[in-house]
Symmetry: C2
Subunit: 633 residues, 2 copies
């Protein structure tokens, strides 16, 4: 199969961008979009096409800088607390009034004592005291703004103050998005199996608009080179950039590279960026074309890395920059040599330092970008980073918000989602962010100073006790508090109608099972239940097949890949599956005792005490809230 596939190369991102720019220049793509003249009131967000020089001075006259009286400085010579001077020749002025002819200083009203028609001054006035000189803000003919400046509210106000009522700016670049693919369906349709809803076009158009462009999405084009070519050329006719979505790889129905090469110039096919690798950069009919991969994270990042700088250059402006910060990596991060690896991370401030927890890295996991607080680029030359290493992250949220984020690492429970949502609704600045690494992983993260809370439901088979024995094992002498969140039902998630008639753990030897990962409380519970019954794990088909969340277990059952898996009722309900109860267990929050009274967590404790919240949790089914918020250690 290698022989008949076009070669997808690994061009480093900066070289790819340079090659694209060179191809654009060679193809005669305009280096800048046209300049247009617009009134100052419509110019905010646009980029100046030429320098802006002041047409008049501001202020245009000498003006009083304070409320008070205008005086002749010479009349006040010798005035002091002990030798006040009584003035009869003065004029009352308010801030901004022109300085009346003949006067050359202002005395603040607070320092003037009226004595009949006269004014008593108790300090000599230096000439031009409290006078705003003509041109104090800007002098006629001064350079106000350079070309290539993106206009902000203060800029247009300053221009207007300097007598400039119209500005030459670059028009908005126009981006046309062309979705392709036989399996792609418009948003709003209910996709049949194998069909995919066209969320990429929605996203890419919104990304273009965020950069100040106009954006338009064409109808979906089937996987047919002739039709794609036609749609691309038509789009190029009124676009400054065409984005072809999907088909940029080298599969049987991937026509983008061929189509661009056939109708124009193919500058790059394949970049050393992950996610994003199969990218097409080229031109057609003097218009740049970007072929974006169909995986949504790849599409979003590709636009960011390649389209954004090109569009900024078309406006003659500096590309927008994300702020950066240094963070401590919560866990080891492996990365392939030879590719820039764009890793999405959650961020939180723990113990005075920002901690970065990597999110799932698949190119198809768009929620990883939704949940990301930052982006960490592992450069092509590195094999990754160690846990605890300090890394540079580009911020997607402000540091203030990140500082108000409660970081919960450990076992996942739906109640944490519900709490996250309730906390945010109360105070938009509060975030509860979770990473699911299992109960044991959470305790280790807590020990290593990487989270505020560890969600845990670990059963100690020896004692039948939950959580506490593990806390002592992992955190030793540390001063740790444990707060109960809920009791919840664990059970077997099975197909709707329970077709195999499972009644409990005993039946697992005759079905295909899907397990949780080592260190997960649910895995420990299974092992305990199996041991109680003397069942050898090796007797269970699928015991070694591991998923990382309750929902992933339910998904495996829903897809028919497994007949049963242990998990919570809410996960079964999410997929319309049946549930065979096995045990009711406590789910606890473990934290450092010093954090119990930290203001960061106060909103959470307050929430857990609220009857409405408890009612909401119990309505989910499978939960008991009688001990919610009780400190058990």
């Amino acid at each position: 199969m290698v022989a008949d596939s076009p070669f997808v190369s690994d061009v480093p991102a900066d070289q790819a961008l340079d090659a694209w720019r060179d191809a654009c220049a060679t193809a005669g793509c305009p280096p800048r979009v046209d300049a247009v003249r617009v009134p100052v009131g419509e110019a905010v967000g646009r980029v100046t096409a030429e320098p802006v020089w002041a047409r008049r001075s501001s202020p245009a006259f000498d003006a009083a800088g304070m409320d008070g009286i205008a005086v002749r400085a010479a009349d006040t010579v010798g005035a002091a607390e002990t030798t006040p001077v009584l003035l009869t020749d003065f004029a009352v002025v308010d801030t901004g009034d022109p300085l009346p002819d003949g006067y050359d200083g202002v005395v603040m009203r607070e320092h003037v004592h009226r004595v009949g028609d006269a004014a008593e001054v108790r300090a000599a006035v230096p000439p031009y005291q409290h006078v705003r000189s003509i041109g104090e803000d800007v002098s006629a003919s001064e350079l106000l703004l350079p070309a290539g400046h993106r206009l902000r509210p203060v800029d247009v106000a300053a221009a207007a103050a300097a007598g400039v009522v119209e500005l030459a700016v670059r028009r908005s670049p126009s981006v046309v998005i062309v979705p392709t693919g036989d399996e792609i369906r418009p948003i709003g349709t209910e996709p049949a199996p194998g069909e995919i809803v066209d969320t990429n076009s929605l996203m890419l158009a919104a990304q273009a608009r965020e950069l100040g462009c106009t954006a338009r999405v064409t109808p979906i084009v089937p996987d047919d080179p002739a039709l794609i070519t036609e749609a691309m050329r038509k789009a190029a006719a009124d676009a400054d950039l065409v984005v072809l979505v999907a088909g940029s790889s080298a599969g049987r129905d991937d026509y983008t590279a061929r189509v661009v090469a056939g109708a124009g110039t193919l500058a790059v096919h394949g970049v050393a960026v992950r996610p994003g690798h199969p990218v097409v950069l080229g031109t057609v009919d003097a218009t740049p074309v970007l072929g974006a991969p169909g995986y949504p994270v790849s599409a979003a990042l590709t636009f960011d890395i390649f389209a954004a700088p090109l569009l900024a250059a078309l406006e003659g402006a500096a590309p927008r920059e994300r702020p950066v910060a240094t963070a401590r990596l919560a866990r080891k991060l492996a990365s392939n040599i030879g590719m820039d690896d764009w890793v999405r991370v959650r961020l939180g401030r723990v113990g005075g330092e920002i901690v970065a927890t990597p999110l799932p890295r698949g190119a198809g996991v768009l929620t990883s970008l939704v949940r990301a607080d930052g982006l960490l680029v592992v450069p092509a030359g590195l094999e990754g980073h160690h846990a605890g290493e300090r890394v540079r992250v580009e911020l997607l949220r402000g540091l203030g918000e990140i500082g108000r984020t409660i970081v919960a690492i450990g076992s996942h429970d739906l109640v944490l989602d519900v709490a996250a949502s309730a906390l945010r609704a109360d105070d938009p600045l509060v975030t509860l962010a979770g990473a699911n690494v299992g109960s044991l992983g959470g305790l280790v993260a807590l020990r290593d100073g990487l989270c505020h809370l560890a969600g845990s439901h670990l059963l100690d088979p020896a004692t039948g006790e939950y959580t506490l024995p593990y806390v002592e094992r992992v955190l030793g002498d540390e001063d740790v508090a444990v707060v109960r969140l809920v009791h919840r039902d664990q059970g077997l998630i099975v197909a709707a109608g329970n077709p195999l008639g499972l009644t409990g753990i005993d039946g697992l030897t005759r079905v295909r099972y899907v397990n949780r990962q080592r260190g997960a409380g649910t895995r420990v519970l299974l092992d305990h239940e199996l041991a109680n019954r003397g069942i050898d794990p090796a007797a269970i088909d699928g015991y070694s097949r591991e998923e990382h969340t309750h929902l992933a277990v339910a998904a495996a059952v829903a897809a028919g890949r497994a007949d049963a898996g242990l998990g919570i009722l809410a996960a079964a309900r999410a997929f319309g599956l049946d549930f065979v109860p096995v045990a009711r267990e406590p789910y606890d929050l473990v934290l450092r005792a010093s954090m119990v009274d930290d203001p960061l967590l106060a909103p959470l404790w307050e929430l857990l005490a609220r009857p409405e919240f408890r009612a909401e949790v119990e309505a989910l089914g499978g939960y008991g809230c009688t001990e919610m918020g009780r400190r058990i250690r």
Copy 2:
């Protein structure tokens, strides 16, 4: 006068905001704007009004994660390089295709060798290799987004992928701006003396729109309490926030506080913030009202400090945050105890550190905000900062751009403005930023590592030589380079038509003079010319009156405050004044020798060598470019 003025207090900013919020709650102002349901495609930029839960899983089916063939994992057991397995039961799949029934793994096309109709596999396939599981991105019923989340392109795409086609979001808050003042004229009118163009409304409306609000500006209301009250109540009827512009102080025509107190509740009059002090915060008819000062910097900052958090709260979202950085202060900064002092600063990276140079601090100097790269808040409890102290700045430009900024501190010349504009037009990432502290101040700044270039035209009276003797005096043994920028004419700037018939320095004893500050090259030149003629500086009226730029000197002459001042031809032309030549002098750029070949400065050297640029400078008048760019040391 104190007696009859309402009291403008000094409420700390956070207390003022709390008092305003309390007043809003008491007056029955809605805590949030209404929720509306909009299609996902129109929701970007808006804030979620309720949590968003996934309606379906994404992917909705198990799918191939790679281009290749779908296989039964069990069929590949034992396959290895030396023992390939030949499969006849497989299905060719592309990335994203549903995994055909009966298959449970995918082999990448690059690892498959076709042998007729069969496929040769050289490695065993673990079950579910290269399979994207149902729900890998998001599982049905999972929490996708909390309430209070401002939607980005990735968010709406993820929502659409999870089957959510409509979102409940907060509508845009509506801001109505009411400009007041007898002296205020609409933009586009040519203001008569004493009149002011209404640039504040333009700016405030744009600031509101930048925050995602809708904004409307009413006609200008004269200084009449009844008319202002009427306009305010009318605005309040369809606004979520009313901004009254100007009149917020305690002058004779300042009615805002009275009007708000009369028609509603006056919560705060006066805050401990500079610029911004005379701020009015209150409510009318269950709508919040902000009375903004008329000084443009005060108006802009007041909106930022008070309106922005209120509007974010109305949307139920976190207020936007500016990124922050640490910078070294280029010079001493004094500040009044008792007021938060918002200082605008220019930033540049010099010797590996960010250096902050304070800009003019007047509330009327809007260009200080235009030119600012950052804001430095000196808190109420501090008297200021020492030169060289490390301070926290809120960034108004990205650090990447700041790193490409050439910092020129010293004497000002218009040629630097022209160069700044030309450099930016060539490359939007290059900025040439100047601070005018006089020639000597520039050399001191260079010595202290606070700039890249010092613009200097200092005459050594003892030798008649320019610049070099001072370089040795200030920078001693440092390895310093000097590059000639231009020769330029210095002369007396006099009123149009030269009514006093001045012909040179000799006539200065009979006119009102305006001088430059100590350390300015022009001041040194004057002193030299006076000494040559045996004229005592004390004999010159106005010798002690100091301005800091050529343009300010010209402005003083234009305003009739002085009859003459020494300066450059371009400054005289800017104000339509006459010019009596006195001397032609060189203007040089001083820099560390190590910086000559630094890539930062390469675009500048290239520009100085360009004939078109030299022609442009000579066309300004009063300049000679024959030595432009020549290294003279």
